[in-house]
């Protein structure tokens, strides 16, 4: 009897060693250990045995089944390993072929710069308020303390709208009228920026466009000082151009601020050493700024004794050109995709 078991094991060992697929393995499994297998068939002898013989016989059956089970398991592992190797071998491919392209568009460089300014200012508690492109001359000039005979009111500088009504309408020459509109409608404290379009009667050339973009800033509250203006502009500059960026204020004249200043920023291209961007001066003129003129407060009915304020303005197109090294302002308005696709991200 023992020999018979040995014979089965021997046969199974050979068959199982030669197995090549999971299908074959399953077949062998049922052939050697299934219900109709030879070993299971031996169980019929059990009834003819004496109680003393039975345990030994049962143990033999079990040992044999266990032995075959082990062989089957080993074979299964071998097949799995083969399979795995095969997967690796067969998955040779050219990983340098392009991956699935993602649709890629982009915001306009002017938008990228404007959004950056907005984000920095919003983080400092400013609100964004927009004005009109088409203004009356009260808001563009008078309310901003600009004398009636001021040269900027000339047709050579300002676009006027064909007069169909009683009022004189024009295309705003700066975003400053938005200051007036905010102050007319809201009481201090006021803390706003106003980005938007402005128009001046300049011919197109590499640095001029009759249509351009500005961002205005205005703060009105009790106790606002020139230091607040410097701090605010410095924070904006450092966030826009890096921590090392410095500013310097030069005395200047604007009718609607006093004291007025022009703000230069240390050249972010050469860090102040001098290069073509800053025309070798190390500085770039970027902002107009100053403390709100008491006359302006008087025009909008804000108590200029109680309140003080500051205002500033900068050119978005100019910042975009400097930041992205764009040589010609006209490129901003051509919308050549080869141009636009260069500026998908701003920071």
């Amino acid at each position: 009897m023992k020999d018979k078991f040995q014979e089965i094991i021997k046969k199974a060992t050979i068959d199982i060693e030669n197995v090549q697929s999971f299908h074959e393995l399953n077949n062998l499994k049922s052939r050697f250990t299934g219900k109709k297998s030879e070993i299971k068939d031996f169980m019929k002898y059990l009834s003819s045995m004496t109680p003393e013989e039975r345990p030994a016989f049962g143990k033999m059956v079990n040992d044999t089944l266990e032995e075959i089970g082990k062989l089957l398991e080993e074979a299964e592992q071998r097949l799995q390993e083969n399979d795995y190797e095969k997967t690796i071998k067969s998955s040779q491919f050219d990983y340098t072929m392009p991956g699935r392209p993602v649709l890629r568009g982009g915001k306009h460089p002017l938008t990228l710069v404007q959004e950056q300014i907005e984000d920095v200012m919003i983080s400092m508690g400013f609100q964004v308020a927009e004005g009109f492109d088409i203004e009356d001359d009260y808001h563009n000039f008078d309310a901003l303390n600009t004398p009636k005979d001021h040269p900027s009111r000339n047709l050579a500088d300002t676009f006027y709208v064909v007069k169909n009504h009683d009022e004189d309408l024009l295309l705003r020459t700066h975003t400053s009228p938005a200051q007036i509109r905010v102050m007319e409608k809201y009481k201090p404290p006021i803390k706003i920026i106003s980005p938007g379009r402005a128009y001046r009667n300049d011919k197109f050339d590499p640095t001029h466009s009759p249509v351009f973009h500005q961002c205005e800033g205005l703060v009105v509250d009790e106790g606002i000082s020139f230091k607040d203006l410097r701090d605010t502009i410095d924070i904006l500059l450092k966030k826009m151009f890096g921590k090392g960026c410095k500013s310097r204020f030069r005395p200047h004249f604007f009718p609607f601020t006093e004291p007025s200043a022009e703000v230069d920023v240390s050249c972010f291209n050469c860090a102040g050493k001098g290069c073509s961007t800053c025309k070798n001066s190390g500085w770039i003129e970027l902002f107009g700024a100053g403390m709100v003129h008491p006359n302006v407060f008087d025009m909008v009915g804000i108590d200029s004794e109680k309140y003080t304020g500051f205002a500033f303005g900068c050119g978005i197109d100019r910042i975009a050109m400097l930041k992205f090294h764009i040589p010609d302002i006209r490129m901003l308005f051509e919308n050549d995709i080869r141009f636009l696709q260069q500026f998908t991200f701003s920071r």
Partner: protein, 841 residues
């Protein structure tokens, strides 16, 4: 911690209702987390009189009583032996809710009983159940029982912040309330009670050589031991058990209960040892020995490390200092002599021991927050006195008080001006001193050795801090106390909120730009000037309002002579430029302003102004151009031409189609801004190829149009490829956009099932109608209906198309069975057959 309203009233004479007191506690920094009323039962029990009593006809032990409650007479069957005519009793009418039952009308041996005459146990007053509760003769009938007994209570569960261990007892809470309310406590709990009543028995055997030795004076700063001889350990009286019930501390025996009661009253733990188990007549406070084994009261045996502080006798450890007592020395029924410990243990070591051994007790909870040394003497004498009173015995000697370094009262300097500035409140020095004194702080006079000339800095108040306020260390702590008592509501706050910005519109504008950017579009920016000829090139009718342009008085030539009223010409010029540069795929959009002069035309100026308010803070108001008839409106316009997708070796490259431009809106964009219920109808815009332009409308509002540009228009712009455009009224979109936060909808718990249908349908029917019809079959279960294939031609008869549709089904309440799905699908097919004469494939 639990606070009892009644118990508080014993300590401080508050004149507040339980509700008011709860509010007061919360706003003085003792946050009430829950409120529990006890004794509600007594409120529904009525005092009544037995006006007649007869024997029950069927039962010897029962009697039938007539009970008069002042208004009505009730027949009650009573089993108590002591009930008698004329007694004032506690009557529970029908409907009374006892803890375990609601009283109903019953028949007892055939006699109806309308209520119950209660025993003390039934009322939860005591365990007495031998007979009914008989009230004194003079008790007035008709009132509820609690109005006589006054034992219903309100229990507040409060959160004590970790900086205020002084609030971990009833006295501490009362003390803080007294400062809040400006009331005196009924007695001064900060002074040791006179010990005159404590009898001292000078037993030589006990007194001679007993001592307390502190080896770790840094870790145990004070230790008071009182030894009481001859006590009888038994159950506590009811009033003491009631107090422990408030604290949710299990009563054990009178001695232990007293230590717990005094702890709960003062917030400072005590411990009692069985003196006979303290060997060597000595209490030693020392560090544990490494690997020492300690059997604790919680029936666990702990292995110590040498880092714990323990109380020991000469042989063994008898307690983990401040954490738990020992099984080897605790008070049992046989105890006669006790040692009562009131001590101060180091807070951080207590925390370490408690957390490393995972033993958390009322005691460790308090010691790890820090206890005041001063309190030891107060609790020691009160507990001693109570033990003598309730357990008998006699104090063996004067108490032993080992207190090597007397705690000095802190002195803190406060600058009233600094407090006023920091808090921004108007408060006088006098008021500040008043608040401090109510908190038990004493103002003392200290003259600065070098006075400065600065008046503000010269005004400094000095306060001596009571020992129990171990949290008051610096000036800022006093400033906090000032505002806590003064009330946060006194700090006037009315910030100016500027609502100049319309953030909804602002961020939606950005978001829309992002949507386009992420779908492969580049943003174009064109200048505002335009040429009137473009209006003709776009086929605009004579009365089209886009011809009501704003004209420039001094333009730079004809091509810059008007302000643009449409963004389309600029984008078409951009398209041409890019085509000329060989671009194979053009997707551009512009979100910008257009301008109108409303001298004539069909547009309604009034309405336009309203509309513009949605994103501009001000519009034609306030300024001088109030009557301006000009308007500036935002427009969202785009072009698509050439290839739709970038070259990819695994995929066919397709040209831009009608469905690509349509998808930008019904897919990404309108969903992004929450616009629903859009209808698409043929447009009247004149620049689309006939049958190829459509308007998107919601109700009567036209949001814009999209479609394929007319070849003839394109020719005028020199463009010779197909161009698809969209042109939307951005202001209108903003007007109907939904800026509300989306609300969470339950995610289906059951699996979604997908089924496909393919059928042939006449071309006269639109897919929208098919989808609506399918959903209508079972709108609760049919989630999405998505077409995934369509074809015409071969095998399909002329005028028909083959459609394949995917349907997703899910139920909120169950997993759908095959049978249910089959039924729904059959209904769908039948419905489609009836309505559209479909033929299944």
């Amino acid at each position: 911690m639990n606070i009892s309203y009644n118990w508080l009233k014993e300590i401080i004479d508050i004149d507040l209702s339980p509700e008011e007191l709860g509010h007061k506690l919360t706003f003085s920094g003792i946050e009430v987390e829950s409120v529990k009323k006890t004794g509600d039962l007594l409120n529904s029990i009525i005092i009544a009189e037995i006006i007649e009593k007869e024997k029950h006809p069927e039962a010897d032990k029962l009697s039938v009583c007539m009970v008069f409650d002042g208004d009505n007479t009730h027949q009650v069957v009573c089993g108590a032996p002591n009930c008698a005519k004329g007694q004032k009793i506690a009557f529970a009418p029908i409907g009374t809710e006892f803890p375990d039952l609601k009283l109903k009308k019953v028949k007892l041996r055939g006699v109806e009983s309308h209520g119950m005459i209660c025993s003390e146990r039934e009322l939860g007053l005591s365990d007495e159940h031998d007979g009914i509760l008989v009230l004194p003769e003079y008790t007035k009938i008709g009132k509820n029982l609690d109005s006589v007994l006054g034992i219903s209570d309100t229990i507040y569960e409060v959160e004590i912040t970790p900086n205020r261990p002084d609030l971990l007892g009833m006295v501490g809470i009362a003390r803080d309330l007294s400062a809040q309310l400006g009331l005196e406590l009924r007695e001064d709990f900060n002074i040791k009670q006179p010990t005159s009543q404590i009898s001292t028995e000078n037993d030589k055997n006990l007194s001679s050589d007993f001592c307390v030795e502190i080896l770790e004076t840094e870790l145990c700063t004070r230790y008071i031991a009182a030894r009481i001889k001859g006590v009888s350990v038994k159950a506590s009286p009811q009033w003491l058990i009631d107090k422990l019930n408030i604290a949710e501390i299990k009563p054990i025996n009178n001695v232990v209960d007293i230590t717990n009661y005094v702890m709960y009253k003062y917030g400072h733990p005590l411990h009692a040892f069985d003196s006979n188990n303290v060997k060597g007549n000595k209490i030693i406070v020392r560090k544990s020995h490494p690997k020492e084994v300690f059997p604790a009261l919680d029936n666990n045996i702990y292995s110590l490390t040498g880092n714990e502080l323990v109380i020991a006798d000469t042989e063994k450890t008898i307690a983990l200092a401040g954490v738990i007592g020992g099984k080897n020395s605790h008070i049992t029924e046989d105890t006669t002599d006790i040692i009562l410990e009131a001590a101060c243990f180091n807070s951080s070591l207590t925390r370490k021991t408690s957390s490393s051994l995972k033993i958390y007790t009322d005691s460790s909870y308090r010691f790890e927050r820090g206890m005041a040394e001063k309190t030891c003497e107060i609790i020691s004498s009160e507990a001693t006195e109570l033990i003598l009173k309730l357990a008998g015995g006699a104090l063996a000697t004067e108490m032993i008080d080992v207190y090597p370094n007397h705690q000095k009262r802190q002195i803190i300097a406060l600058r009233p001006e600094r407090a006023r500035k920091l808090l921004a409140i108007d408060i006088s020095d006098l008021e500040i001193v008043g608040y401090m004194e109510r908190l038990g702080l004493k103002k003392i006079q200290i003259t600065s050795p070098n006075p400065t000339t600065d008046a503000e800095n010269n005004n400094i108040l000095h306060f001596e801090i009571p020992e129990f306020r171990i949290d008051l260390l610096k000036e800022i702590d006093l400033i906090e106390e000032i505002i806590r008592l003064h009330g946060f509501e006194k700090v006037k706050s009315s910030p100016e909120v500027q609502n100049i910005m319309n953030t909804g519109v602002f961020y939606t504008r950005r978001g829309i730009k992002n949507v386009f950017m992420n779908n492969g579009f580049f943003e174009a920016v064109n200048i505002s000037f335009s040429d009137p000829i473009y209006l003709d090139m776009l086929n605009l009718a004579e009365d089209d309002n886009r011809r009501d342009t704003v004209k420039i008085l001094n333009p730079q030539g004809e091509s810059f002579s008007i302000m643009r009223s449409t963004l389309l010409p600029g984008l078409l010029k951009n398209t041409l430029l890019n085509l000329n540069h060989g671009a194979d795929s053009i997707k551009l959009f512009e979100l910008n302003k257009v301008f109108f002069e409303h001298g004539r035309g069909k547009d309604d100026t009034e309405k336009t102004d309203d509309l513009n308010k949605s994103h501009l803070p001000f519009r034609n108001e306030g300024g001088k151009n109030k009557k301006s008839k000009l308007s500036e409106k935002w427009r969202l316009t785009g072009v698509m031409a050439g290839k739709y997708n970038p070259i990819y070796w695994k995929e066919k490259i397709e040209d831009v189609s009608f469905y690509d431009v349509k998808g930008m809106f019904d897919g990404s964009l309108l969903g992004y801004i929450g616009i629903k219920n859009i209808d698409i109808v043929p447009t009247s815009e004149p620049f689309y190829l006939p049958n190829n332009g459509f308007s998107m409308i919601q109700k009567d509002a036209v949001l814009g149009s999209f479609g394929r540009l007319d070849k003839k228009v394109l020719q005028k712009f020199d463009i010779d490829c197909d161009v698809y455009v969209f042109d939307f009224d951005f202001d209108k979109i903003m007007e109907i956009a939904d800026f509300e936060f989306s609300k969470f909808k339950e995610i289906p718990k059951y699996p979604i099932v997908y089924r496909d249908l393919s059928f042939i349908i006449s071309e006269e029917y639109r897919i929208n109608d098919v989808i609506k019809t399918i959903v209508a079959v079972n709108p609760k279960i049919i989630q999405f209906v998505t077409p995934f294939d369509q074809f015409k031609g071969k095998q399909i008869p002329e005028g028909f198309r083959s459609l394949s549709i995917n349907i997703s089904l899910v139920s909120e309440t169950k997993t759908l069975t095959d049978e249910q799905i089959k039924n729904i699908m059959n209904s769908i097919i039948n419905r489609l057959y009836d309505k559209f004469k479909i033929e299944m494939r």
